[in-house]
Structures are given as C-alpha cells and as structure tokens.
Subunit: 427 residues, 2 copies
Amino acid sequence: MAMATLRFIGRKIVLGKQGPGLAAASTLRRALATTVGSVDKQKRLLTVRWSDKSRRDSLLPLAWLRDNCQCSACFHPDTLSRLQLMENFDPKIGADSVQFDDASKTCSVTWSDGHVSTYKYDWLMRRSFDSESQQQRSLWYSGKHELWGSDYAIRRHPFDQLMKSDSSLLQFLNDMEAFGLTVVEGAPIAGTEGLRAVTDLCNRVAFPMETNYGTTFTVKSKLNPSNLAYTPARLGLHVDLPFYKDPPGIQLLHCLAQSNNITGGENFFSDGFHAANLLKVANSDAYKMLTTRLVDFYDYETDHLADFHMLCRQRVISLTSDGEYEMICYNNQVRDTYLNMPADQVQLFYDALKAFDTLLHGEQCSVSTKLKEGDIVTFDNRRVLHGRNSYTVHGTAERHLEGAYLRWDEVYSRIRRLEESVRSRQP
Amino acid sequence: MAMATLRFIGRKIVLGKQGPGLAAASTLRRALATTVGSVDKQKRLLTVRWSDKSRRDSLLPLAWLRDNCQCSACFHPDTLSRLQLMENFDPKIGADSVQFDDASKTCSVTWSDGHVSTYKYDWLMRRSFDSESQQQRSLWYSGKHELWGSDYAIRRHPFDQLMKSDSSLLQFLNDMEAFGLTVVEGAPIAGTEGLRAVTDLCNRVAFPMETNYGTTFTVKSKLNPSNLAYTPARLGLHVDLPFYKDPPGIQLLHCLAQSNNITGGENFFSDGFHAANLLKVANSDAYKMLTTRLVDFYDYETDHLADFHMLCRQRVISLTSDGEYEMICYNNQVRDTYLNMPADQVQLFYDALKAFDTLLHGEQCSVSTKLKEGDIVTFDNRRVLHGRNSYTVHGTAERHLEGAYLRWDEVYSRIRRLEESVRSRQP
C-alpha cells in the first residue's frame, strides 16, 4: 500500500513515493495553531486540519481538487464555468506537494505535471465532504415545505409591495415555497394594466412559462371551450397540465371580474402532500398503488396556438429516490380513457384514487375562498390541488380570471439571488 | 363468492344477485356469431367475446366502464374531458344488465343507480386491457430511438420543404425522434428573415421554450460572456442547461455566419444512449455509478433576462422505472464545484465520468461536421451531446449562430397530430 511520506517543511508537505503512513495524531495536535494536511495516496484523499479549531477536518479527494482548480486556465472567471476539458483531465493525477499559508488563507497543490492549483480556505471548507457541510449545501436546493390542513389561513401579500420591494418579494416566494398557496391582493383590474398584471407579476419573479394554452390564458365561460375550466362546471381538485412530463410549477390566477350576480364559483385548495401523508397512514395499499402505477393523462384539443394531442404517463404521487414527495399529478378531467395496467389491478386502482380524492376534498384538508377582484391566487401546481364550484351568472355579470404559470427552476433561482442580495446569504 | 347469473335474453345479460358462475364455455362458443359477454361480480370484470373472431376477448373492469361513460353528462363532448366528478363516483357500483347490439356495434350497461352507459365496440376494443392492446397504445408515447455510432450519416432536410409540407415536417420530426440529430439546410441567412428563421422553424413545430438565456440566444464570441459558448473556447461534449430539472428537449442552432477566415469551430455530436450502452458492457461499475449518483449542476450569471442562480441535481444517465434510457445529463462546464457524495465515492465517480466521456468522444461514437451558412443543426438535447472545437478568427470574419429550444412534450404532440392528418392514424 503506497502511502504518502509527510515531511513538514514549514507548512509544506512534500510527498515521497513511499512512506510509513499518515502523520501521527500527536504530530497533528502539535500543529493545531497552523493549518496542516496529510495525503493518503492509496485513497487519494487530502485530510486538512484547520487552524480554526471550530472547524472539523476536511476530507478532500485529490481528483476533485484537480478537477476544481480555480486558475484562469482551468476555470473561466466571467462565466464561472469549468474550462478544463474532461478529455484532458487525469482522474489519477498525483500531487507532488501541498502547501498551506495561514496568512493568505490559501492552500496550494503542485501536481505531478507541474500545474499548481490554489484554493481559498473558506472555499474548501464550504465544499467539504463531511455530512454537515453537505447538508448545509443542500439547503440551497428545493423542498422546504410546511404541510397544512384545512385550518391553514392563506397568506396574503399586497401586489404593490411585491412589485417594488425585494424583501417583500422574497417573503412572498418563501411563503410559496413553504405553503404553496398565497393570495396576492390589490392587483390592478382596469384596462390593459389589469389585463397584464399577472404577466407583470410573473416578470417580477422570472417569466411566464408558455404552454399549449398560451403564455397566459383567459378563464371565462366560452363558446366551443377547449378546456373544462372554460365552462361553468364544477371542477374537482386537480393540478393543471398533468399531460406535461414536467407540469407547470406555480399557477397564478388573477381575478379581474367577480360579482354578486354570480352564484358559486368559489375556489378550494388542498395540500396534496398532506393528503398523501394521511393516505399513507390510513390506507397503505392505496398509497403504494398511487406512488407506483403510471396513469395516462391526455389533452386533445385546439387552442389559439395549434391543434395538440398531449400525452403523459405520471404517478399520481411521485416520490424522489430518497422517498420525499416530488409531485402530485392528479386531474380527473384529463385522466385518459386509456388505462395502462392489467385488468386485475384496475379495481384496486380506482379504490385507491377514490380514497385519495376523498381525503383531498375532506374536512381535514380542503380550504375554500371566493376570489375578490384584484386577487391573484398563486399556488404550487405540483403540490397544491385546486378546484372550483360550478357557478351561475345572473344578468350580464361575467366571471373573468387571467392565468399564467411559472417554473420552479426559475423561481428557485430568483429566491437564491434574493437571499443573496436581501439577506447577504453567501451563494 | 357472489357471481353473476348469466341469462342470455337476446343479447342482453341480466345479472342476478347470486348465481352459479360464468356462462359455460360451450354457451359462449355457440354464441360466436354475435357479441356476448359475462360479468364476474367478484372480480368486477366484464368479459366480452366479440362476434369478430379475429379479436381476442376483452376484459373490461366495471369500475373503468362506469368511470369512462361517454354520455354528455359524464363526458364533455367539446373539451373531450371527464365531467363526472370522482367525488360522485362509486368505484364499487354494480351493473344491473349489459346489452350488446351488433347492428349499431354498441354495448350498453345499465348501472344499479339507473344510469345507462353506451360504448362503441371499436372504442372498447382499442382500450382493452390485454397486453397486445396496451402495447399498441404505448406506441403513441415517446421512445422510438435508433441508436447510432460514428458511422451515422446525419439526416438532412430542406428548410423550405419543412415549412410548407406537413408530410416533410413529419418526416423531419420522425428522424428527430429516431436519431436525435438532423441538419435542416437552406434556411435564410440574410436580414431579419435570417435572424428569425430558427424561431420560424420552432413555430412551425410548436413554439420556442424560453429559458434563462431568453427565447432565442445568440452564439458569438462576446465581451463579458455569460456562458462559455459565447467564447471561442473548445467545448467538450455536453447537453445544454442541465441545471434545469427538465432540460430543453430539442436544441436548434442556426448558422448565420461562417467563413473560410475562421479556423476551427467544427461541431461534433455523440449519441449518449449508445455510449451508455457501451459503458454498461465495458465498465458496469461506472455505469452503475452514473445511473445512480446525483451530480450538482449550476449556473450563476446575469443574462439579458435577469441575474440567475440555477441549481439542479441530476443523474448523468437517467433511467425510467422500466430501465429504459430517459435522459443524459452531462455538461462538464457547468458541473458544480460542489459534489454531494461521501469522500470515499469521489475517486470512483471521476473514474466513471472519465470512462463515459472517453467513450462519448471516442471513434466508436463521435461524428463531426462544420456547419455551413443556412444550416440549422437540430438535436435531442436530452440524448445527443454536442461539442465544438475552439476557433480562431482571421481578419473581420465572425462566427454567428442563433439558437433556440423546443420541449419534447409539444413536439410529440405535433407528431401525433401530423400522424393523424398526414397518415390518417387513429388518435
């Protein structure tokens, strides 16, 4: 087993071809006032003991260090992208020496081909491979959900405030991330300003996601409707566009016209992850069915863009490989008449779907609200299901919503940049 | 065990509360000239023996039949959506009688609540639950891939032809589906017509997918580039935008300016699914690593839309739950400096990545072409990786590409509608 010879020359380790093993623990303890390291040539790991005693040792793989050289030949400073090509990268490259400089807080590695890579201490610390550092990093990723039931008081945010204040915008987006259901209130309703308010809000966050229903869509009772939402029918709890492999992340519905002359039309919402949790406890067979079986969703229509025939097979409850909730994909309206499973599974499938639907609509889960003019209800279309009571119009009143979608990728990107600018969080 | 009493009254089955079991096989044989059925009340299945002897028996679950009643109260004829609410649906509803009419080729079920559902024979046959019917249906879904190596002669399609002929457009899209790499040639290059040609082609298929780089993007050597593609550097084989959870499906790059005064800048391509197959045979450990480990991709920049900080964890080789290839997600430029795995896995990870990259670039896989002005190279960004040689400009020449993306969901939708209109394929 080839191990590094560790000879401390100042704070430089010169690595011999063979050696007796890692520096003894006592050697490392004596050197605590300065940052020191040792290389295990067999495992190809550099262990760093930081002079800052509050920091744990960092285990840094040599291949990773070479891959992430930050010099301008290896890493492009403007685009923050790796210039070094994998074609030219030797994952087994050796390190000839490692040097620590506590004054400049940098670590330099001289590689066997003569290339020198220099890393800042804090840059390395944040990228350490211990589980604590990695958990810290994972916080930048999505998934800070707070599940809710029927006692959830829908968070409300003033439109004007969001449009001008970055910290208000961030608070709104944090609420969307956590609860997946908010109302933005006081949006303009008159004229072109009213018509474009939902787009303005999208553009304040990122930009609207175009779909087969357009960049925005008008929810009214229409002649020759292309979608059941464009009729006055009751809509059960559903997500929009489940026939997309990657359905829209956030849906925004801006109420431009509502009236006392309209009976019904209340919206109701349900946290699909919460209902899935309830299902898991109450009916594990149903939960298993809905987390594994693929269900066909479809949309065969013509809207202003073109004729379309969308098809997608989705799990009603999608889990990540870690078993976390990823997405709810359920829409009874556009669930296909084709059902791709063996006949002997079908009854169990319907029993499972009925059980889930009953929980979603039940008193433990569902919250209801009737939108007021100027309200923009915004919800996580991959988690929070929405429904609508049927409505009747008396006289000339009209119910009119303008809708749009955002993708979570771009919303999370916006959150990260706002966390950085508003809260000085280090990216 | 409660089984149906089968009494053939004409071609009507009246189902009693209790009974001796299914009609004997001999009864069914005698009735072959007409369509007959039997209901298993325990399994809640209707078995139909069609008068058309070339058709196998259909097994039709009762719950599915009730769910898919096509009457105008249950199913909206304009939107082709289910009006029946799951809230009002009883998955255990009983069938009082089933009637077959070979003259009108319809089957009617009278349910225990008095509701009557009528289905056309061919509608039922196409939705049967036998594996043959279900395989037939699955052909409407994606995945008709023909993998290729370095001997692939890139399919070429004339721009004008695609823009005016639906059958040419369909042939182009079928090639994209099968091979994931084509060149559309002879696109306009002059003036605004040239600048918008890639958008025109997108709109002919569906519409461009907007991303953090815009609805379209200009690939030139730029000052203060936001992406390595906007420099003259060599780019190894990669997919675009792997920091999206759902990266763009098809990429289109329209060459507007190329010149003899530009040395280099050739493009090269590699079928990632083919390379993955080679890897699986040559190095199963590497294959396992790349199909399971999540890798961080990121993009931290400012483009014309906004500041962004995109992050996504992806498998380099994604498989479906059936073990089919779903997506290749590899881009060495924007692979993050953060690597979310235990230190002792890192060397194996780099060895695996190097092995895959070597296959991708190797002589078994890679094809090369230098784009000519008017070429629009189009490729499946989730399967076919693209790269570019570094280039040097002599004098005032400029290399200029206009790029755009399409989503596969909308492309497949377009293919389905074209299959229907051009080839009369039944949807």
